[in-house]
Subunit: 245 residues, 2 copies
């Protein structure tokens, strides 16, 4: 039976272990990076390039002409000069057909640290049901590793909720062996109906509310609104074609 | 307002951080070390000496004559030659008036790594309500740090449940500021009525059941059966006198 395991924060990712044991990773940063990625692709972005920091973003941008990309980022939740704040609602207006170069404190770093897994999917409340469907073909010898980005070394409520949501979706399709960590998130999720309330109750959610970004919280809380399944291949996130699954 | 924070596993303990910020630690290893400690003190043990490994246990034993102590331990859940298996029901029969020298894979190591906190309490489902009462006098500038021992680097279902139980008990007495990690355990706990079912569903619990140790699972699941509040001071765990609180 395929095993489902869960990491609570990006600091728990051991890069040397990602390449062994046939792991299929799903990275979650519900507030906000992976929500932003899914949302941008849904809004017509050509691709997303997740980077480790703003310097790498600027280097990546040099490969494009000015009208081909959007540079978005934050560091410890603060804006970066010259970057669009990585909010789904800000980015929506101008992303169609463009490349999103994205630098965030947790989510994009978690994605990059997971790159050695055999596949790396991007999850969020928006597309977890679709990601769960894409994982139907995972074989018994593989492990589905759900990676919560967390918040600067700490567990975050919203990612834990997102992980529980994904596991709940997975179990609708098939049987899996759950580790204790996976069970904690599943049981937690099943006790909490209202995604928006949980997001609002989280540390990052309360900051977003304080800065009048409730629109982003509402986007992030929208369970299952898209069938997009983004996948990270060679440093670029694109929508996985159903033919390649 | 006093903050409550939670660490998911002993590997998240940063010893250099324990000594700063006026931290009051509560260490949990529901299956089984902290349950064994609480249970042994309830059964009349004079004190408990938590050690890092069997060699240290043997060195510690040299300070006692043969009828003054019991040597108990496991390594990766397996028995250690010459040591009693650290099961509350095994130890009960012969612990009265004696020192328990205890070597375990997770719980005693977590305790030792937490030793630099301003106070270190030992929690379990048995005595969490009593520990919560002992914490009534914690001041606003202090942080209550709940430490799940976990299982060899992984989150364990039973410790997460125990942490939620402790937080639930704390909130009956007073108001606290909860970090996201603390909230995950609380909300999880509140959705799961039956402690025994959770313990049985955990990885370690399923191993104990396989080895016919259901009696220990039942002991570990007994919420609030004792008012004992064990505290670690200079390497020794004794029952905190209510006069010293």
């Amino acid at each position: 039976m395929t095993k489902i395991h869960l990491l609570m924060k990006k600091e728990d990712i051991k890069e040397e272990k990602m390449a062994v044991g046939n792991k299929v990773a799903v990275v979650l940063d519900v507030l906000l990076a992976t929500t932003t990625i899914v949302s941008a692709l849904k809004d017509g972005a050509k691709e997303v390039i997740p980077v480790l920091h703003s310097h790498e973003a600027l280097v990546a941008a040099k490969e494009y002409s000015e009208d081909e990309y959007i540079l978005a980022g934050e560091l410890d939740a603060k804006p970066i000069t010259g970057f669009v704040y990585p909010s789904p609602t800000f980015i929506r207006e101008s992303i169609k057909g463009k490349t999103l170069i994205l630098s965030t404190t947790n989510g994009t770093v978690a994605l990059r640290r997971s790159a050695l897994a055999s596949k790396v999917y991007i999850g969020s409340l928006l597309n977890n049901p679709a990601v769960a469907s894409a994982l139907k073909n995972v074989t018994d010898d593989q492990t589905i590793l759900i990676i919560c980005s967390g918040n600067s070394g700490e567990t975050s409520l919203e990612d834990f909720y997102g992980a529980g949501h994904l596991i709940d979706c997975l179990l609708m399709n098939s049987k899996y062996e759950l580790t204790d960590a996976a069970k904690t998130a599943l049981y937690f999720y099943r006790g909490q109906e209202d995604a928006y309330e949980i997001l609002l109750d989280s540390y990052v959610g309360s900051l977003l509310e304080k800065h009048n970004q409730n629109a982003d919280l509402k986007v992030a809380a929208s369970k299952g609104i898209t069938s997009i399944v983004p996948i990270l291949i060679e440093g670029r996130v694109t929508v996985e074609s159903s033919l390649t699954r």
